[in-house]
């Protein structure tokens, strides 16, 4: 039959044309309505994947008897237990522990709380919320102590925003592409709906001295991890967050309260927040002047790399999610920027020779993950999938050659879990071979 016009109860879907090389289709194919593919695209699209008729349907055992009882707190299906975070320190040795988000096995914008990435430099403290205190002092008119109960009575705001470790995507600094999944390469970023009290509300109550320009945030973890933050961020959108995706913050994400600095370097979003000292100058703490200062190729180093700049990567397909036969696939991924909303994502299936505009999942929120989707007809041949994002401030995700020229690369491949450098926001390339296997390449 002709695919030119596909009648669905009187509605007519427009035909979908290939808009970029190697089978990328017009994103309008995803905007509701049925997908009607242009006949010229041909092979496989719109037809059954197998061509064989389905087996006759019959009841399974779970449909023939009443099921399990509800639990006070629902947990996922036992069939999903393989979906988990990769742990860098599963036995809790006395060092930093990383837990990476499996972006290739989830979808949407928000990261489930149990899969949100965490990094804990000295384990996860077991904090009694009734005994926890937040003190704000320093260059203020009247230092004050806040209990969780008190903060819970303040006006709250909710913001969907992401936290990204400065070291996320660090393997991308390797001079040769490391073979890892999107979880191994980009698993130190997650997005959640955070609810809490504006830090500015609390600062107004303690009265900030006009000569103050910074505050130093500190956690109640055993390291008393501390970071200096410009007060400009407090007046802008900093939160003392109490809730993560609607429930109290997960222990590994800072229970019972954490600083959330939307879209600023993850380590600055101090967890287990217990103290804020308002100051004229930054403290030059260990994590800001050593760990999260980035060496540059000329031997100098960046300091105060606050922003996580515009970035995107494809989560499906990706390594470990091999293609099973030619035909239709949705290329999907996430894009985000500290400079506001994502304005555009382009996708390539031919290693950057040609690009098609991806559909952005509404609502597109500032400083949040934005899910992008692009319809693709895989013809069974070699392909290299890439995404590239733009933000509303006009920033564009740098091409890899330009990024490496500015920020450098390693002299030899590092370990997959290593941190050769930080704040990689260039392009990720997935190569698809004719067997459907997906590998990480530089292109």
């Amino acid at each position: 039959m002709s695919n030119r016009k596909h009648d669905r109860g009187g509605r007519t879907s427009p035909p979908v044309e290939q808009v970029a090389g190697n089978g990328l289709l017009d994103r309008r194919a995803l905007l509701g309505r049925g997908i009607a593919f242009a006949g010229a695209i041909g092979t496989g699209v719109g037809a059954s994947l197998t061509g064989a008729a389905a087996e006759p349907l019959k009841d399974d055992p779970w449909s023939q008897a009443a099921g399990a009882n509800s639990k006070p707190y629902e947990t996922r299906s036992r069939f999903e237990e393989k979906v988990g975070r990769i742990l860098s320190n599963p036995n809790g040795e006395p060092r930093t522990s990383h837990a990476r988000t499996p972006h290739h096995l989830i979808n949407g914008v928000v990261t489930p709380n149990g899969l949100h990435f965490t990094i804990n430099h000295s384990g996860i403290p077991d904090i009694d919320p009734d005994k926890h205190r937040l003190v704000i002092h320093g260059l203020v008119r009247q230092p004050k102590v806040f209990t969780l109960e008190a903060l819970s009575r303040y006006p709250m705001v909710t913001q969907t925003t992401y936290v990204e470790c400065g070291g996320n995507s660090a393997p991308m600094f390797s001079n040769e592409p490391l073979q890892g999944t999107v979880q191994q390469l980009h698993g130190l970023v997650s997005c959640a709906e955070w609810t809490g009290v504006r830090l500015s509300t609390l600062l107004d109550e303690v009265g900030v001295d006009p000569k103050a320009k910074w505050f130093v945030a500190e956690g109640a973890d055993s390291l008393a991890l501390s970071r200096s933050v410009p007060l400009t961020k407090a007046w802008d959108d900093a939160l003392v967050a109490l809730y993560q995706n609607g429930e109290r913050i997960m222990p590994g994400n800072g229970y019972p309260m954490r600083l959330v600095l939307p879209a600023w370097q993850g380590n600055m979003n101090v967890k287990f927040l217990r103290r804020i000292q308002v100051s004229e100058n930054p403290a030059m703490s260990y994590y800001e002047t050593r760990t999260y200062s980035q060496l540059l190729p000329n031997g100098k180093a960046y300091r105060f790399h606050f922003l996580t700049e515009v970035k995107s990567f494809i989560t499906q397909p990706s390594p470990g999610l091999n293609l099973k036969g030619q035909g239709f696939y949705e290329i999907s991924g996430i894009a985000y920027s500290a400079n506001g909303r994502i304005s555009k994502v382009m996708v390539s299936a031919d290693g950057g020779k040609s690009w098609a505009q991806a559909a952005l999942q509404a609502p597109v929120m500032p400083k949040s993950f934005t899910r992008f989707r692009a319809p693709w007809n895989w013809n069974g041949g070699p392909a290299i999938l890439q995404s590239r994002a733009w933000d509303e401030a006009g920033n564009v995700q740098p091409l890899r050659a330009d990024f490496v020229a500015a920020r450098g690369q390693t002299q030899k491949p590092p370990n997959m879990g290593g941190f050769p450098n930080q704040h990689y926001n260039s392009i990720t390339s997935w190569a698809v071979d004719p067997s459907g296997q997906v590998k990480h390449v530089y292109a």
Partner: protein
């Protein structure tokens, strides 16, 4: 931009309409004195702000280091299961090891981090004198101070770190 809030703060400090403004918010924080922030008040800054009374020398620091630090950081700071604290390898690439001598910008950071976070298994159990002494020992082993130099709240901020001038503020417009 930095408009409304600092003006508000300025008004509060100047005593204008303090009562009225204070009633706008819930005001559920309990007042506390700066002194009562107490043992939580541990930020030590490059200009010396927050450095406590006390002192220590490299000679005093050596046995404390051997007892409380060497297990992880190795004998003489040469490194073990945790990072080396002594040594100045050249920076040859973006992934070169960042050491106290080749990278750190401020000697006060060493005091601050040692007092706040170390020893890893028993943090904040060192006395201020012990922290000064360990700091002096590590700085001296790195030849950043003399072998007999005492570290205290006056001398520590004056220690010149070799890499101090090699940092670029990445987003100055955000400060």
């Amino acid at each position: 931009m930095f408009t409304r809030k600092p003006l508000l703060a300025g008004a509060l400090l100047a005593g204008f309409a303090t009562a009225a403004l204070a009633q706008q918010g819930p005001n559920l924080g309990q007042p506390i004195t700066e002194a009562d922030v107490g043992e939580w008040n541990i930020n030590a800054m490059p200009d010396g702000t927050g450095l406590p009374p006390g002192s220590g020398t490299p000679a005093q620091g050596a046995p404390i280091y051997a007892q409380k630090c060497a297990l992880c950081h190795g004998e003489g700071g040469k490194g073990g299961r945790s990072a080396a604290l002594v040594g100045k390898p050249p920076i040859t690439g973006i992934d070169s090891p960042k050491t106290i001598a080749n990278f750190w910008g401020y000697a006060t950071t060493l005091f601050d981090f040692t007092r706040r976070s170390m020893p890893w298994v028993t943090p904040r159990t060192l006395t201020n004198d012990e922290v000064y002494a360990i700091t002096a020992y590590i700085l001296a082993e790195n030849k950043l101070i003399g072998p007999n130099d005492e570290m205290n709240a006056q001398t520590l901020p004056k220690v010149k770190m070799p890499n101090a001038d090699n940092f670029i503020i990445r987003f100055p417009d955000k400060i």
